[in-house]
Structures are given as C-alpha cells and as structure tokens.
C-alpha cells in the first residue's frame, strides 16, 4: 500500500502542467460505401476464409462439408448439433486440446481490418484458441466501419473477457517469413449468415 502512495506522490510532484483531453468528435475516420464488401476483402487479406450462407441453409452441413475429416468438434451453440465436445461442460480447459474444429459466435465484424468481436460466451475460452480450425458464425448485417465504431459496441459479458480476432494465428518471427498457425488456430473460417 505504501508503494502506491509513494508512486502517486512522486507522480503528483512531477506533473507541471495538466494538458486537456482532446475532442475526438472531429476525427474523420474512414467509412466504406459497402462495409460488408470491405470486411470480406480485409478478412481474406488477414488469412480468413469467408463463406456466405443463406439463413435457411444448415450450418452443420456446411461445416461438415468444409471439414470432412474433422473428428473432434467443439461448440456450445444451440444451432450446432455435430459437436462432440462442449466448452461449457468439459472438466478442464485442457480437455479441449485436440479439437479439430471449434465453432463460436462473433457479435460484429470490422470493415477496416477484417476482425470480429468475440465476447467470451462459454466457460472455457480455450476453445477459441486451442482448436486447429476455428469457425465463426457472424451476422452479415453486423459490420461496422472502423475500430472507433467497434469500441462503442464492445461488451465483455459476464465472463469478463473478449477478443478481436482477424484470421489465423500467425508469426513472422523466423526471418520475417509469414507463417499461418503459430500458437493458436491454424485456420479461420467466417460463416456470414
């Protein structure tokens, strides 16, 4: 506790002039004539696959078609009936290791960079990272232009965790060569519903 007071005291002693917070209202942020189209372009650039499906089509059949060899499928979404493991009911996060396909829901996408917001809506968020292939169900009507708009919509939910994801896990740490599939998902497929 004394460290806290010492630190704050030193900060107060050091500040000579208090600067105003700038207004952000006049920021001319990029908007897109067709945010969905921009989102798709940016998603592909980030390494995501994008599949548009009609609301009446069977998502389960689509996932099966995309990943015919998948054995372990993890999801807690009510519309998914092909899941073999549920991140809400596993005994430990470690049990999700070996998941071939994880299916989760995104709240909205961001046109400028192809990321989508994933609030934790399952007990074990490991499913979002540990799965070899990640499938995101995303409503195509929910695309914002840029991160300013995105952060006005961010909601972490009860679990108190959320993440923007764009494409598969990647690295260029060895000689600046881009490699998809570093520590987390090796592929990301956005299903635009």
């Amino acid at each position: 506790m004394s460290s806290k007071q010492d630190i704050l005291g030193r900060i107060r002693a050091g500040i000579r002039e208090r600067y105003e917070m700038p207004s952000l209202a006049d920021l001319q942020a990029t908007v897109f004539p067709d945010p969905l189209e921009a989102f798709i372009t940016a998603s592909l650039a980030a390494g995501s696959k994008v599949v548009e499906i009609s609301p009446s089509s069977d998502i389960n059949a689509t996932v099966r078609e995309l990943f015919p060899d998948a054995k372990v499928i993890a999801s807690n979404l009510p519309e998914i009936n092909i899941a073999t493991i549920n991140p809400d009911t596993v005994g430990s996060a470690q049990e999700l290791n070996g998941t071939d396909v994880g299916i989760i829901r995104g709240s909205f996408g961001v046109a400028e960079n192809g990321c989508f917001w994933i609030p934790q809506a399952m007990k074990e968020k490991a499913v979002c990272f540990i799965s070899e292939n990640l499938v995101i169900l995303l409503p195509k009507t929910e695309i914002v232009n840029n991160m300013h708009e995105a952060y006005r919509r961010v909601n972490l939910g009860d679990y108190g965790y959320g993440t923007f994801i764009s494409g598969p896990s990647k690295t260029a740490d060895i000689a600046q060569t881009l490699v998809m599939g570093a520590q987390a998902a090796r592929s990301v497929t956005v299903l635009l519903v």
């Binding site: 806290k4 704050l8 030193r10 108190g160 990647k170 060895i174 600046q176």
Partner: protein, 427 residues
C-alpha cells in the same frame, strides 16, 4: 569511441549480413508507409494520439487510481511495484502462494527491464517464453535485438540448428520457417497445457473498465491464460489510458506502425479471471517512470507505445543492429530511455543518431525522439566529465532539473541552432 561505434563497426564487417539487416527493416518501414498512406485520417490519428498521451500522462495519478479501483471492482488484485526488485518479489510471492513451478508467459519488455526471468529461475521456477521469437532467443540465452521482432537478427539455419539441438525439430536439415514454426507450436502446446500460471504484459490498461489489453499475432497471450489457473499481468505505469474511445485511436495506430498490418490477429481484453481460476493479479510497475515524468525536457518519452517503428526507420539502427546499443531497448526510443535510466552508463548511445528525425516523423504518438537525443547530447560534458568534475556537474544538473527557469537558462544557448530542425512536436 563509444561502445555503440565500436559495436557498429564490428556489425558492418559482414557486409552481406548488414545489407540484409538494413533491407529487412526498411521493408517493415515500407509496409508501415503503405498502411499510413492508406488511411486519409492518419495524421489526425497521430495528432489525437499524441494529445491523449499528453493529457493522460499529466493526469496519470487520477487515471491510475481509476484503473486500480475498476480492476479491484472486477475482482482483480492490484499491486504497485516501486522498482524492479519489488516487482520481482511480488511476482515470486504470488507464484509461491499458488505453489507454481512453471509459468508460460507472453512477450513483455517490462519483465525484460526488471530481469524477472533470471530472478525467478534463480528461485527454481521455470519460465517459458511463448512468443516464437522470444522463445528462440530464450533458448539461445540471448536478449531481444528489437522490441517487436526479437529474433529477427537470426537466420533460418541458426534457428533450425537450435531446434535440432533442443530436440524441438526432428527432420535434421529442414530449416524451412513453416516447418520450424510448426515444430515450435507442438513443443509449446505441451507447455500451455501443463503450466501452473500464465503471465502477460499489457499494451494498454483501460482506466474506465479495468481491462488489460494485449495485442498479439500468435495468440500466445490467450493460450497462456486459457489453461493455467492463475493469470498475472504486468504493466508499466504509462500503459494506462482513459477509455475505449482512446483505445480505438491507439489500436488503429499500433499495429499499422509496428508491422504494417491493419490490426494484430488478436486484441484481447482481460477483465476477470476465467471461471474457477484464482483471482487475476495486476502489477503496476514504476521503476523510474514517476521520476521521468518530472523531467521537464524528457518526460514525453513516456508517451511511447512500443511499436518499434522508430527502430525500423532509423538509418543507424538498420546499419548497426540491436546489440550495438548499451541499453536493452535499442534504436531512437532506446537511446532516450537508456538516458533516463542511467545517463552515465548509456551516454555512448546518444552518438548513434544522425539527427535525420525520421524517427519522430513516423512515431505514431509523436514522441520528439531526435530532438530529445539532441538535448541529451548537450549534456555530454556532464556525463563524460572527469570523476571530480563530474560529481559537481551532476549535482549542478540535478539542481537545474528541479528548477525549470535555471534549466531554460542553462540550455538556452543550444536551443536556437536546433530550432531549424524542429518538426511537428506538440509543445
């Protein structure tokens, strides 16, 4: 000859390598330029980012209190570390309390600054770096040569041979980066599943919500915190920003400046511990920062968001490499941070600058890096003086620092010729 000059001379002996180094970082600079030119609002964003930082740093007491209150309300345990030693003790205390033998951690220049890994290893705790570049240099026993791309100085052969020695890769002679990355993935997966605790740094702390925000491309911060029962997050005081509206500005600038991507793959918000886990621990680290804030000429270095773009653009960094500098953070911002840390130990670095000011024209938060290096140079007689004279001069300088008017008088002579170099700093 300064230590930097000697090291740079040695670095340049291998002409092929130094040309490759130069070209590699220039390519990152070009990627950054593509991003900047692609956003018509780029300069406006930089201006706002700079002003938000000036505002936040000059209200840091208020924002830190707001941040810690919000984090505590979320159920986190907030610690305040005055210096590196206290930080290390706090980390060790938490780990001991939970009986932790092995931790996985994501990249953090702060833990590097505090020498945390060797400290914990000395106490018998195994620390596994999970960012691929950090893992590589950890296994080699090296320090990072760049703050964003820590292992970029190594060739695929060097990494491949390392992985063969460590038993990480099995196909001898296969030094393809894709293969090596895959083998590292398999090896690290085991560590993620068995670690007792996960540790992350932070790119931002959000005062309004108490969130810790971590940006990675590999997802290793998320993997590090998805299985272990304990999450410790460490952040320097200057990482706290007011709210999500401000975060949007920095988020848009950070990755575009750092690697030339429109965003990192993951921008993760940690507010609460995961269900069933121990409470999240957040450690706010001072280690000099509160004093630097009181330095009238150099406090703006604290605006830095550690994107690394000042290194990528710096003609001296590109042609001398990260290991030529005496401070653990190289390049323009490292020269300045080293001088704030210990001017006598790091004054040699101030000559590693051509005053081209390319650094401050790319810096996303407009730190006036080159101008500050110029100012540090004016102090060289102080730091380089003979021991007896040095003592008097140093004493004099600390008096001058604490009296802004005296300081102005003392440096007034050198300000004028420099004026023509001034670009776009906010003051």
């Amino acid at each position: 000859m300064s230590r930097h000059s000697k090291n740079a001379k040695a670095f340049l002996k291998d002409a092929k390598y130094s040309e490759w180094h130069d070209a590699t970082f220039w390519a990152v600079r070009e990627k950054r330029d593509n991003m900047a030119h692609g956003l018509p609002e780029w300069e406006q964003l930089r201006q706002k980012a700079s002003q938000i930082k000036l505002h936040t740093l000059s209200h840091l007491d208020e924002y830190l209190e707001q941040f810690s209150a919000a984090a505590e309300k979320n159920g986190a345990i907030v610690h305040w570390a005055a210096d590196a030693a206290q930080f290390n003790e706090i980390v060790f205390g938490i780990l001991s309390e939970h009986g932790v033998k092995m931790i996985v951690k994501s990249k953090s220049m702060l833990t590097e600054e505090c020498g945390m890994n060797p400290y914990l290893e000395g106490k018998g705790i195994e620390v596994v770096e999970t960012d691929l570049g950090e893992r590589i240099i950890q296994l080699l026993g090296q320090a990072p040569s760049h703050i964003v791309m820590p292992a970029v100085h190594l060739t695929p052969d060097q990494v491949g041979e390392l992985f063969e020695r460590e038993g990480i890769s099995s196909e001898i002679g296969n030094h393809d980066p894709t293969y090596l990355t895959y083998r590292a993935r398999l090896s690290l997966r085991n560590e993620f599943l068995t670690a007792d605790a996960g540790m992350t740094g932070a790119n931002f702390g959000i005062a309004a919500t108490g969130d810790i925000v971590v940006c990675t491309n590999e997802g290793n911060a998320d993997m590090s915190t998805s299985c272990p029962r304990l999450h410790i997050a460490a952040l320097g005081l200057e990482k706290v920003i007011p709210d999500y509206d401000c975060l949007a500005v920095f988020q848009r600038l950070l990755c575009r400046s750092a690697t030339g991507q429109p965003t990192t793959t993951y921008t993760s918000h940690f507010r609460k511990a995961r269900p069933g886990a121990a409470p999240m621990h957040i450690i706010l680290v001072d280690n000099g920062r509160s004093e630097w804030l009181g330095n009238p000429e150099h406090w703006q270095t604290l605006k830095c968001i550690r994107c690394g773009s000042c290194m990528n653009t710096c003609p001296v960094y590109r042609r001398s490499g990260g290991y030529s500098y005496s401070y653990f953070i190289p390049g323009p911002v490292g020269v300045n941070l080293g001088m704030l840390r210990d001017p006598r130990a790091h004054s040699g670095n101030v000559s590693a600058c051509t005053l081209c000011l390319s650094c401050q024209s790319v810096c996303p938060v407009k730190v006036n890096l080159g101008e500050q290096i110029y100012k540090w140079r004016q102090m060289l007689p102080v730091w380089n003086a003979e021991p007896a004279g040095k003592k008097i001069l140093c004493k004099g300088m600390s008096m001058v620092y604490n009296h802004p008017l005296l300081y102005k008088a003392a440096t007034g002579v050198v300000k004028k010729p420099f004026h023509s170099l001034k670009t776009d700093s906010d003051e």
